[in-house]
């Protein structure tokens, strides 16, 4: 489901778009934390806990968008994992929702029916996937085929 036409997923604007990306499980364990903004370690911990608290109480009849401090969290739940992206309040919710789904689909392809354990044991590879698709707080690559090709090449170098 790559977005093929130009400019259809522009996310630019003054200032950082994505503040951080988090993957957490229901119990609150962090499976991935990618920060695009400077935070202290204890700030990071606090943010992680707050996000977990806010996101796990919501069920299917809530929307996927939560106001959080002076930001917004776009999240989606896949099995026992919550994929959260923290963005500015003025950003396009639907587009980031798409981005999350895109990312998960890539993971699924790459790990062949990905499950949480895959993410645990191969955490450094997950970071690589993130870095292929997001950079400097922006969405970098939306074409799944391209990303997968890249990842397979990288894997061959190991």
């Amino acid at each position: 489901m790559g977005l093929s036409s130009p400019g259809k997923c522009c996310k630019a604007g003054g200032g950082l778009k994505i503040r951080f990306i988090l993957i957490q499980n229901r119990a609150g364990k962090t499976r991935l934390a990618k920060w695009y903004m400077q935070f202290d370690d204890d700030e990071k911990q606090k943010l992680i806990e707050e996000v977990h608290a806010v996101v796990t109480v919501r069920d299917a009849k809530h929307t996927n968008f939560v106001e959080f401090r002076n930001f917004k969290i776009i999240y989606r739940r896949y099995a026992g994992l919550y994929f959260c992206i923290c963005v500015d309040v003025n950003d396009n919710n639907l587009a980031y929702l798409e981005a999350i789904h895109n990312f998960v689909e890539v993971l699924n392809e790459y790990f062949h029916n990905v499950c949480e354990l895959d993410l645990v044991f191969n955490f450094y590879k997950v970071y690589t996937v993130v870095d292929e698709m997001f950079l400097a707080g922006e969405i970098r690559e939306t074409s799944q085929t391209k990303v997968l090709k890249q990842l397979l090449m990288l894997q061959s170098l190991e």
């Binding site: 630019a12 929307t63 968008f65 919710n93 639907l94 798409e98 450094y124 090449m153 990288l154 170098l157």
Partner: protein
């Protein structure tokens, strides 16, 4: 030393830990092993060790001793080493540690590496956590990579450049030539990232706008068109095309449409386009996906002010959203509904909103009730409808209404004279079944007290009159009094209502007397006081009773801002008949007079005792207060805006006169010459004079202190004394430092009252610190010009 365990092993082992303590123990053991391994400077296993360290870091354990090791990994030639090294750098290092600068050289080399993957790694790291110094050093390399033939790298370089610009805005020009080429890209991914770069540039510098006028990309358009009419026009067609051609079957299409809508809203588009945007939002509202409905409602809320009519067309859909399951959608829908209410749709909307009030979650009820009151007040088509609506709110959400709703409603009822009978009947019926909702009971009690006679006489025209006897009415009021659910305030209302009925009812006066006397020994102090006073009214002041308990007149509203506090100015007044009463014999002892005042105040509405006697428009209340003599009213809780002349201010009157709101000072050319009052040791003090327009005995002197020495004078204090026939008031100075070299002055204002028009004389005392020592001086000022005091 045995080979350190593999990453997978470690992960598996840690996962078997059953308690937090066990896990911690394992981790500590492993950290110790890793530390000794690092000390051995072992290249083969460094990568593995750092990877394990990173895993432990992700679990939340400190891992900073591995930072230098990451650097070593980055410097290694093996790709796997580099990869873990850079990951470690991104996770463990940040700008605040100096260690990160050591990376700069490594990154620089890697940016020029033969393998694109290594270059990519370097760009990625730089783009995520490069500090401003690093960015400055490496901007040149990034710029070079923007022009490389490898599209993979160009994409990364573009976003890396975005980060660089964010960190060091001055470097923007450097990237300008490269970006011009980027726009002609065929590769979509590169085009996308370069648009990101461009938009970042444009947002930061308006001059760049001129270069990119022809660019046809959505988000960029929004920023460009923000305040520029020409480009907005060009965009209108494009946006319309995009809006109609995008298919919406997948969420992707919706995301694009939504972006289009946002763009249309932001730029100065023609109204047709805006209507198109709002229609798109309206279609979103019908979508099954709640996310889409949510974003639609949010955007509509933002535009309802400017495009009111267009949004009105979707009113029914919005109202349907009130029944949605998601809480945040309901809230948005409620806010939007209130924004859309107007005189035409009030009846229909109110039905929906009342239904919503019935069924919504408690967290909404208060806001919804307030909103309904506001809307009803603004657009009520008839008084009966208004009263019905408010009653409906009180019965469905009675415990959630705000406190000021009760007085508002009471005032509304009083003012609808023709509806009194209808209102009291409905209220009576409402509390007959259930008297637990306090605001409702309070209003009902008040009304029954006021209009009980209408109730029993069965005079209602609007609906079928009910047959009620006086005893039945008293029954309900007494049950309110007794009930455990009634608050103290409610009981107060009920008791006063019963009392009022003593003049309206004919056959049950004895019963009322009995009730009132029982509560004379109530534990509740408020009730007890009332009961005692009412008892007194029956006994000693029976001749006053009928007059005191007369019908309330129509109240004047001071502020009409919906459910805000209404100041009861003459709400507590008694009508004219009081004037003909004989004044009470002899001066009333203050406490009893206060009691009477309390009766009149009747804490029925808001506990306001008017503290503003004479200056209010001639109200009987004022006269009554006169009758009762000069009572000190400071004890009463006063919400009334006291005008300036409230008697208990103890300041000398002339200052009040001087403090009138009009500026005291006429224009500067008063013609009174200024004098130098003091000049010694480099300190000069000048007096300038003005006479008050309102009070000829007041002279206002402005002193200006200046310092011609080369050092500041600090802690400067000016004091003045005048002969006994004068009065002096010193206001606070502008500062306490007189700056050197006459660069500034201290100003201070003195007000002098000279009722006997004697010649003005003044003694001044100056204290300050100068050149490290404390200085003090006394002086007399005798050279006041005659115009300043005659």
């Amino acid at each position: 030393m045995p080979a350190p365990i593999r990453l997978r092993e470690l992960i598996r082992t840690i996962r078997t830990a059953r308690t937090q303590a066990e896990e911690r123990e394992m981790i500590q053991k492993e950290c110790a092993a890793i530390r000794s391994s690092f000390r051995e400077e072992d290249n083969t296993y460094r990568c593995r060790n750092v990877a394990k360290l990173l895993y432990m870091h992700m679990l939340g354990y400190p891992a900073h001793f591995g930072q230098l090791e990451c650097l070593k990994l980055i410097a290694s030639q093996k790709f796997t080493d580099k990869r873990i090294g850079y990951l470690g750098a991104m996770l463990l290092l940040d700008e605040r540690q100096d260690v990160h600068l050591l990376m700069t050289n490594c990154i620089k080399n890697d940016l020029n590496h033969s393998t694109q993957y290594v270059q990519g790694l370097a760009l990625c790291t730089l783009g995520c956590m490069g500090s401003s110094e690093m960015c400055r050093d490496l901007a040149g390399e990034v710029e070079k990579l923007l022009k490389t033939s490898n599209s993979y790298l160009r994409k990364k370089a573009a976003l890396c450049a975005v980060h660089v610009i964010r960190k060091v805005p001055e470097l923007m020009e450097m990237f300008l030539p490269a970006t011009k080429n980027l726009l002609n890209e065929k590769n979509h991914g590169v085009l996308h990232t370069s648009v990101v770069l461009l938009t970042e540039m444009c947002e930061r510098s308006p001059d760049m706008l001129a270069h990119f006028r022809k660019v046809r990309i959505l988000r960029l358009l929004r920023i460009l068109g923000r305040n520029d009419d020409d480009s907005s026009e060009a965009m209108n067609d494009i946006l319309a095309q995009v809006a109609t051609n995008t298919e919406t079957s997948k969420n992707v299409g919706n995301a694009i449409l939504y972006e289009t809508v946002l763009t249309i809203m932001d730029i100065k588009s023609e109204s047709g386009l805006r209507v198109l945007a709002i229609n798109i939002l309206g279609r979103f509202l019908l979508n099954n996906d709640k996310n889409i409905r949510y974003v639609a409602l949010t955007s509509l809320l933002k535009t309802v002010q400017t495009d009111h009519n267009a949004v009105q067309r979707h009113r029914s859909t919005i109202v349907d959203c009130l029944k949605d399951l998601d809480v945040s959608i309901k809230r948005r829908a409620m806010e939007l509904s209130f924004a859309l209410v107007n005189g035409n749709n009030i009846r229909g909307m109110m039905k929906e909103l009342l239904y919503f009030l019935d069924s919504c979650e408690p967290e909404f009820k208060a806001d919804c009730a307030s909103g309904i009151f506001l809307a009803a007040e603004k657009y009520a088509p008839s008084k009966r409808w208004h009263i019905d609506t408010i009653m409906r709110v009180l019965t469905t959400a009675g415990s959630y209404v705000r406190d000021d709703a009760v007085p508002n409603l009471i005032q509304l009822i009083t003012n609808s004279v023709e509806m009194h009978a209808y209102t009291v009947q409905r209220l009576y019926k409402a509390i007959l079944g259930d008297y637990s909702q306090q605001p409702l009971v309070q209003v009902a009690a008040w009304c029954i007290g006021e209009y009980g006679d209408l109730l029993v006489s069965g005079q209602c025209e609007e609906e079928e009159p009910i047959q009620v006897t006086e005893d039945e009415v008293l029954d309900i009021l007494e049950s309110v009094l007794i009930s455990n659910m009634s608050t103290s305030v409610t009981r107060g209302y009920a008791l006063t209502a019963i009392m009022k009925l003593s003049t309206r009812f004919t056959c049950t006066v004895n019963r009322i007397k009995k009730v009132v006397s029982i509560y004379g020994s109530s534990i509740d102090v408020e009730l007890q006081q009332r009961a005692v006073e009412y008892n007194a009214l029956f006994k000693k002041y029976d001749h006053m009773r009928s007059a005191l308990l007369e019908r309330m007149p129509v109240m004047e509203k001071v502020t009409t801002n919906g459910p805000t506090e209404i100041v009861q100015t003459n709400g507590e007044t008694e009508p004219a008949p009081l004037e003909t009463k004989p004044p009470p014999s002899g001066p009333q002892p203050t406490s009893q007079a206060n009691d009477l005042l309390d009766l009149l105040g009747g804490n029925d509405i808001t506990p306001v005792i008017p503290t503003a006697p004479t200056s209010k428009p001639a109200s009987a209340g004022g006269e009554l207060l006169d009758l009762l003599g000069d009572i000190n009213l400071t004890g009463a809780p006063a919400a009334a805006p006291a005008p300036a002349s409230v008697p208990q201010i103890s300041q000398p009157p002339f200052l009040l006169d001087g403090l009138s709101s009009q500026p005291l000072f006429n224009d500067i050319t008063t013609g009174i010459p200024s004098i130098t009052a003091y000049s010694k040791n480099g300190l000069k003090i000048e007096f300038t004079f003005e006479r008050s327009n309102t009070n000829p005995s007041v002279t206002v002197i402005t002193i200006q202190a200046s310092n011609s020495t080369e050092l500041d004078m600090t802690d400067f204090v000016f004091q003045a004394a005048v002969p006994k026939t004068f009065q002096l008031q010193l206001l606070s100075p502008s500062s306490s430092i007189v700056p050197a070299f006459n660069t500034g002055t201290i100003t201070q204002v003195i007000k002098v009252l000279n009722p006997q028009k004697q010649q003005l004389r003044m003694r001044i005392k100056l204290t300050y610190n100068h050149k490290g020592s404390a200085m003090q001086d006394l002086a007399e000022v005798n050279n006041f010009p005659p115009q300043s005091w005659q």
